[in-house]
Symmetry: C2
Subunit: 260 residues, 2 copies
DNA sequence: GACAAGGTTCCGAAATTTGGAACTACCTTG
DNA sequence: CAAGGTAGTTCCAAATTTCGGAACCTTGTC
């Protein structure tokens, strides 16, 4: 196991739930002996990947990660193009928009477009959530091959919110539905009372994939309003697929909120 | 030279001026042989610290840096307290506010508070600039010991904009002035026509230091307006020093826009 | 088809990492 | 104040990685 692997293992211990860690936390989370942990933490601190609070002695991601994180946006073309379109839809509908990428069986929020309707934004950029429990997450999964999906879902199926697929079979059923209908929808999953609709967009050029979703309060929206969101998303999906050369664009006449 | 050191050396090649790099760029910038560069880039990519554009094959900071960079913000107390005060000053004066930290002889922008006056923001968060050429950068340097300053300035004094100190002696003269008068001011340095005033804030608890500045167009402001900015900053400095237990707070009656 | 640029793989020598144990520093408690 | 605990560092020989030159692929180009 290389020094870099170890370093990454430590870095991956940090999350929004645990934005800072003590020496003991890191030791427990990585299961490494004291001496190794000590040496590694010091290296990471000295090189700027971690910072240590002088008072509490706890560690947190360092200045270097802040700088590099700002540069990550260079990811431009696909994401900023999608963001531009999403902004318009959010302005028209008043709802909140999300753009995320898939990483394993989780998704990471890249951009948020706050809507005008009051709805607390609970997923700030950088937030990591199981892709199985979101509309755009499932839309992205639906575009993978079945074997790829199987490889991504952990051996022990994760515990998900009540309305999310509770096991692999239910998951595949929902993905199949997305593939058939082209619509990915979620309601009362990650957050009670919040629903969303989403789709996956894949660049024909680079093959990279992002998930785009619009989320709203289930109570505060009518069925008609949700149908309107569906139309807006379908139009956005169609336009973006054309612009980015998404392989799904081939039969551009069909309504494609989701996938195949 | 450890694997981690090499990895960091590569990561530090990225900057806002060069947000993505090719294999050859990295090789040239690090001066490492092909084989080492190849191995290292692959490791960094596999672990998520870098991403590779599938089309151009160029590398850029990866998803992991994005996530960690977001967490770095949790670094709150001192910075968010300063940001809150800065927001009020910027709202009152209409100018743009900056918060930065010192790293070697450079500073990194952490937060920006856009003013209502139209002035293009040229230093987005994450931006790295020589601290010698900004008002708050020099204010931070002024609070270090002379030997510490000497250790930070590179052996060959860097080439700076016309109005910045051109050599070590000039630099020390300006720092001494800051120490005496308590005021740090810059005009027409990094950017033509832009001036700024700043001060350094140090937490009495943790010892960490940040630089706070307000910047404005030199042409579009009167001397009276700039004097007003000075008063605003002095008031903010005084209040923040009290709140954070800054060692400089000892004689809180004096006007302290800059440092001792 | 030859060439160059860009990049990967191989391999033995050399340097680094590992982790147990001993050690230091600093609290807390009886 | 001594004893015990917690937190973390340093040491060292063994084991693992890394290093970099050279040979080897792959792709686009003239």
């Amino acid at each position: 196991m290389s020094a870099l692997t170890n370093a990454i293992e430590i870095l991956r211990c940090f999350s929004s739930a645990r934005p800072d860690l003590s020496f003991a936390d890191v030791m427990a989370l990585t299961g490494k002996p004291k001496s190794s942990t000590s040496r590694l933490l010091r290296s990471l601190r000295d090189c700027g990947l971690l910072e240590q609070d002088p008072h509490t002695r706890r560690y947190r991601p360092g200045l270097l990660t802040f700088e590099l994180g700002r540069l990550h946006r260079a990811h431009d073309d696909l994401i900023s193009m999608a963001e531009r379109e999403l902004r318009e839809v959010c302005a028209r509908t008043g709802h909140t928009g999300y753009i995320a990428v898939l990483d394993g069986f989780e998704q990471v929020v890249l951009r948020i477009v706050p809507g005008s309707n009051p709805l607390r934004v609970v997923n700030p950029p950088g937030q990591r959530t199981p892709a199985l429990a979101t509309s755009n997450g499932r839309a992205m999964l639906a575009r993978l091959s079945d074997e790829d999906i199987r490889a991504r879902v952990p051996a022990t199926y994760p515990k998900l919110p009540r309305n999310s697929p509770q096991n692999f079979k239910q998951l595949m059923a929902r993905l199949d539905e997305i593939r058939r209908t082209g619509v990915s929808e979620a309601a009362d999953e990650s957050i009670e009372g919040v629903g969303s609709q989403g789709f996956a967009l894949k660049s024909g050029e680079t093959g990279e994939m992002i998930g785009i979703a619009v989320s709203y309060s289930v109570q505060a929206t009518t069925a008609a309003e949700r149908a309107n969101v569906r139309r807006e998303l379908a139009a956005m999906a169609s336009k973006l697929r054309r612009l980015t050369g998404d392989p799904l664009d081939q039969d551009a006449t069909r309504i494609q909120t989701g996938t195949r």
